[in-house]
């Protein structure tokens, strides 16, 4: 039984009774049933009806409640992750054609310049008469990183976001679950957990960047978490905290990065009674599949398996076609999300060994650092601004901690104004410039000076894995 095309989030949450679950942040909890007679928006819900609304709060719980309140009401909601840089707001506002936003005190007011309606919220509910009525099939917009550093806007609907969740629902028992995720719910992986908790009458324990891993796990344990998800990097951090065994979940999920055998074996040893699954999903392709046999990679039989998601390998990359695929990108000069025959090219490269496909990296040199994408070109642009650099190549280096780290190779010019700096001074200068211009995960961990870089006959840098 699936969500009907016209179904909306609150409507689906209250089909039989008011929802039984609660959402918890580090400081506050919200009982979902309260939303029948209370709102986070302080009486301003109707102002947002039919509008395109940015949800830009530092506080995750506030964003979670706003999403529940605005689906079916707003024309379009744009989920801004908490680390969206102020410089990118104008692009997001313009591309999404937003005219309103829901913000909190953690997000500077200037970020919303140009928006007509501003609603400032706190993670608390105001008891009031509230009419929950669907008027729109709300579009959901997620942000993902692009080559230029400016985020790409990916258009979904509640239906595309939940098509796989609903499909799985029929075969699973209705026991209330307590979900948690290390992810932020404004990212695809976290949003999936938010939607599962909301639609299945469960509860949700939200993470908090200010909280230590040990404290978060203790809070999740106290709430009785049963289902928990994160990237392999999140899980490695949990294992390094020494507090991983504080929780005793029935289900452990990894996604967003390559799950190697070491992390799967480690989690198996830590949670012997849990079902451990690694899932493939991306903002553009949506939820692909889940692998639960305890082994890295996925069986080649998946390509011919019946189910809601069609899987193909073309030119060594994984392609998916399903109702979970995003609809399109928003904004100017955008490319289609779907390629030939409606398949989305995930850009994830795979290799067949003994009847099993293994993920071996990303096409186009894109680097995945702890679940965050890095486009080499944006880092190279910063490096190449150094007057002593002729050209640079940014690439991935495997990491047992974050999956990959960024490294750079640079070729120097012979002459530039001023005295030629010593190599180590030059390298420090390059790293410092990157640190000024880029978020930490994009800054090269190592920079090497090389005599030359391979350039293709077409004049392009030859990228590994491209």
């Amino acid at each position: 039984m699936g969500l009907k095309p016209s179904e909306w989030l609150w409507g689906a949450m209250v089909t039989e009774a008011l929802p039984a679950g609660s959402f918890h942040s580090a400081g506050t909890s919200v009982r979902l049933a309260e939303l029948a007679g209370a709102s986070i928006l302080g009486g301003r819900l109707e102002e947002l009806r039919g509008r395109t609304v940015l949800i830009a709060t530092q506080d995750q719980l506030a964003a979670a409640v706003a999403l529940i309140e605005l689906d079916g009401v707003a024309q379009r909601i744009v989920l801004c992750p908490p680390d969206l840089a102020p410089v990118h707001f104008p692009h997001v506002i313009k591309s999404a054609e937003a005219i309103a936003w829901v913000r909190d005190a953690g997000v500077p007011e200037e970020n919303g310049t140009g928006l007509d309606i501003s609603v400032t919220v706190q993670p608390r509910l105001y008891v009031q008469q509230v009419t929950r009525q669907q008027s729109h099939e709300t579009e959901w917009v997620l942000l993902t990183s692009g080559t230029t550093g400016a985020p790409k806007l990916v258009l979904h609907t509640l239906r595309t976001l939940t098509s796989i969740i609903v499909h799985q629902q029929a075969s699973q028992s209705a026991t209330p679950r307590i979900w948690s995720t290390f992810y932020d719910i404004r990212r695809y992986g976290g949003l999936q957990i938010f939607l599962r908790a909301a639609l299945r009458g469960g509860s949700l324990v939200l993470s908090d960047p200010k909280e230590s891993m040990t404290d978060f796990l203790a809070r999740a344990a106290e709430t009785g978490v049963t289902h928990i998800s994160g990237t392999p990097s999140h899980w490695r951090r949990a294992l390094m905290s020494g507090a991983a065994a504080t929780i005793a979940p029935a289900y452990v999920r990894l996604s967003g990065e390559i799950a190697d055998q070491a992390i799967l074996d480690n989690l198996e040893a830590t949670y012997p009674r849990a079902s451990i699954a690694h899932a493939f999903a991306s903002t553009e392709a949506g939820v692909g599949f889940e692998v639960g046999d305890g082994l890295a990679g996925f069986p080649a039989t998946l390509l011919s398996a019946p189910g809601p998601v069609e899987v193909r390998i073309v030119d060594g990359t994984l392609r998916l076609r399903s109702e979970a695929n995003a609809l399109r990108y928003l904004g100017e000069q955008v490319v289609p999300i779907r390629g030939p025959e409606g398949f989305v090219d995930t850009g994830d490269r795979v290799e067949l060994r003994d009847g099993r496909y293994y993920f071996i990296g990303r096409a186009g040199g894109v680097i995945n650092v702890g679940g965050l994408k890095v486009h080499p070109e944006e880092v190279e642009a910063v490096i190449n601004a150094n007057p002593w650099v002729r050209m640079s190549l940014v690439k991935a280096r495997r990491s047992p901690i974050t999956g990959a780290v960024v490294t750079a190779e640079v070729v120097l010019v012979d002459e530039a104004p001023g005295e030629r700096p010593k190599p180590e001074v030059l390298i420090q200068g390059i790293i410092e410039a990157c640190r000024q211009a880029l978020p930490p995960h994009k800054v090269p961990a190592m920079v090497r000076i090389v005599p030359g870089l391979e350039v293709s006959p077409a004049g392009k840098l030859v990228r590994p894995n491209a």
Binding site: P400, I401, P440, H441
Partner: protein, 88 residues
């Protein structure tokens, strides 16, 4: 330079670059209380591989994730030993 002192100097260097305050490095210091984040550890492990010539996390058999600084040093020391012993 011993494995331990190489590790200590990398912890200090990366903490400095990442503008993080490093806690005094004692064997029972929990890594996640050292002041470093996952990215810092990733950088340390990558640079140690260049300095020492091996990455103990990349071993054939799965390694247990180190929880304390002492665990971390022991992981590297135990991986270093087999490489030091072969007949030359």
């Amino acid at each position: 330079m011993s494995v331990r002192s190489t590790i200590i100097s990398q912890f200090e260097a990366v903490a400095g670059e990442q503008h993080r305050r490093l806690a005094p490095l004692s064997d029972d210091l929990k890594l996640l209380q050292s002041g470093l984040d996952s990215l810092s550890f990733a950088i340390i492990v990558a640079r140690l591989e260049d300095k020492l010539g091996f990455d103990p996390f990349n071993a054939e058999e799965a390694v247990e994730f180190p929880v304390t600084f002492g665990d971390f040093v022991r992981l590297y020391e135990s991986s270093a030993r087999p490489q030091e012993s072969p007949t030359r």
